[in-house]
Amino acid sequence: MAVSLISDSPMPDSINHSDLLAVEIAGVRFANPVWTASGTCGYGLDMAGLIDLNRLGAICTKGLSGTPLRGNAPWRIVETQGGMLNAIGLQNIGAHAFIAEKLPALREYGARIIPNVFGYTIEQYIEAIEILETGEGIHAYELNISCPNVKAGGESFANDPRQAAEVTAAVKKVATRPVIVKLSPNVTSIAVAARAVEEAGADALSLINTAIGMSIDINTRRPRIANVTGGLSGPAIKPIAVRCVFQAARAVSIPLVGIGGIATVEDALEFIIAGASAIQVGTANFYDPSASIRIVDGLADYCRHHGLASIRELIGSLRLDE
């Protein structure tokens, strides 16, 4: 069978959208609102062979801890309809190695650098942040608060607004850079969670992290993922994510970064209209590595086509009959 082919070729040279797409979040200026999501772009450099990192607004690194983590046993991922489950187990090289081995090369690119940070105790968050404070060229931190708090019964920090606020406040004390707190959708009220971390001093919110899911192999009767449950991501969760951004936008006044199933410019626009000042491309990086760059170009096209002087005019521009 002869089949012609479209290979993944390098993107055309940087197109400068200048101010059209620039956004400011927590005092940091981003050339555009398109970021890559934590855990879906490695430490950024891993994508350098496929896309021009200079064209991204920011790169959120794989979750970093003070000490390296080995991660979960395989299988770690399974595809579901419209999405995938993952339980990587936060495997990472540790904050020290990130600074020594990744940061110098990453700094060479135009994209803002946002380490994603996690811990199983508040002290571990602090430890990671303190190490990262010594690194140069970092623009903000993103706190993954969806990890179990081992000192408080093993429930996730995100499950309890008080614990979410506590870790936020603790990190704010030691961080000299803006802190973006990443919210979990696995809560009864995203508004309550958003307000709690806003009051605790968060500079911005990113949302959503994955929804907890599970998949079972009906032949072996075992979970398909060694960790039993995993995080659901991809287009399947997009409607949940848009709803969360919409609800958070009405609950807080700090900027929001929208995440969840974003694969096209239309997806990105939904989040921006719902109230996001920036968006992150996650799972789409896996199956469509140039998705983020096409979104950058698509946003510029949309602005021009709709006569917008800046993408900022679009943020939270949802029309409701009220």
Binding site: A2, D8, D46, G71
Partner: protein, 262 residues
């Protein structure tokens, strides 16, 4: 095939020249398709390089929705193809050795480029090819014409081709013979996990080096999802770390793997 398994051949013209090494793979899906979402990993089976384009071939077993989507492709359809990816087989290690290629199921396509290189380097090479039934011996004709029928040993579960049973049986007989003759053998293998485990055990028992091409569920194929973990021995306290099959492999030295922990 008689076992009920189905296979497809995918032939693609890539619009630029590519440097592809034995054991590397590509991540494939029909252009623009959104279900399934993720691309599927396939080892390059054949490559015809050209100055402005490259012709590549894959043999795939149809096992689920991704490979079914590939099977629905028709001539002139476009395919998204990210590659070449991963580390290739270490060919230097074969110098001055006999080579045993051991393949099972849909693993044999991953060894054909390797076989071509070994023949080119005039390294004595035998193929041990196993499958459920005659029709499951992927690429048998190509391997036979490349290596010569006397160098191809097959085994099928239903006995429709070669010996009945597992391919590791003729492999062990051959290894015993070579060892009696004092000849050093290097094993390259690709196939289903149970076969690879057996090959790894044989390589350990006989202290023969073996390079294994592994499979793992892959979301990205290029190192960013960390979904394709495989335990690899390490000097750390736990004795192992997880490496990525896609970028640290898919080819690993058998003695480096810490399969027992997983």
């Amino acid at each position: 095939s008689a076992s009920g398994r189905r296979y497809g051949l995918l032939r693609l013209r890539i619009d630029h020249s590519q440097d592809i090494h034995p054991g590397q793979f590509a991540m494939l899906k029909p252009r623009g398709s959104v279900e399934p979402l993720l691309r599927r990993a396939m080892a390059y089976y054949k490559v015809e390089p050209g100055p402005a384009s490259t012709l590549v071939e894959f043999i795939y077993q149809i096992v689920g929705r991704g490979t079914e989507a590939l099977a629905r492709l028709r001539p002139a359809d476009e395919v998204e193809c990210l590659g070449p990816l991963g580390h290739s087989f270490d060919l230097e290690a074969a110098t001055a050795r006999q080579v045993a290629l051991v393949a099972g199921g849909a693993g044999s396509p991953a060894l054909f480029l390797l076989a071509q290189d070994l023949v080119r380097r005039q390294i004595p090479t035998r193929l041990f090819l196993g499958g459920a039934s005659h029709g499951d011996l992927c690429g048998l004709a190509d391997f036979t014409s490349l290596l010569g029928a006397e160098r191809v040993f097959t085994a099928t579960i239903d006995g429709t081709h070669g010996v009945s049973g597992f391919v590791t049986q003729p492999l062990e007989e051959y290894l015993t013979e070579e060892s009696a003759n004092g000849r050093e053998v290097l094993i390259y293998s690709c196939g289903p996990d149970p076969m690879l485990h057996r090959v790894a055990a044989i390589s350990a028992e006989r202290s023969l080096p073996a390079q294994l091409s592994l499979e793992a569920p892959m979301a990205c194929g290029y190192g960013i999802c960390v979904g394709c973990a495989v335990p690899v021995k390490n000097s750390c306290p736990e004795g192992f770390i997880y490496q990525k099959v896609c970028t640290d492999g898919p080819v690993f030295w058998s003695h480096d793997l810490a399969w027992e922990v997983a």
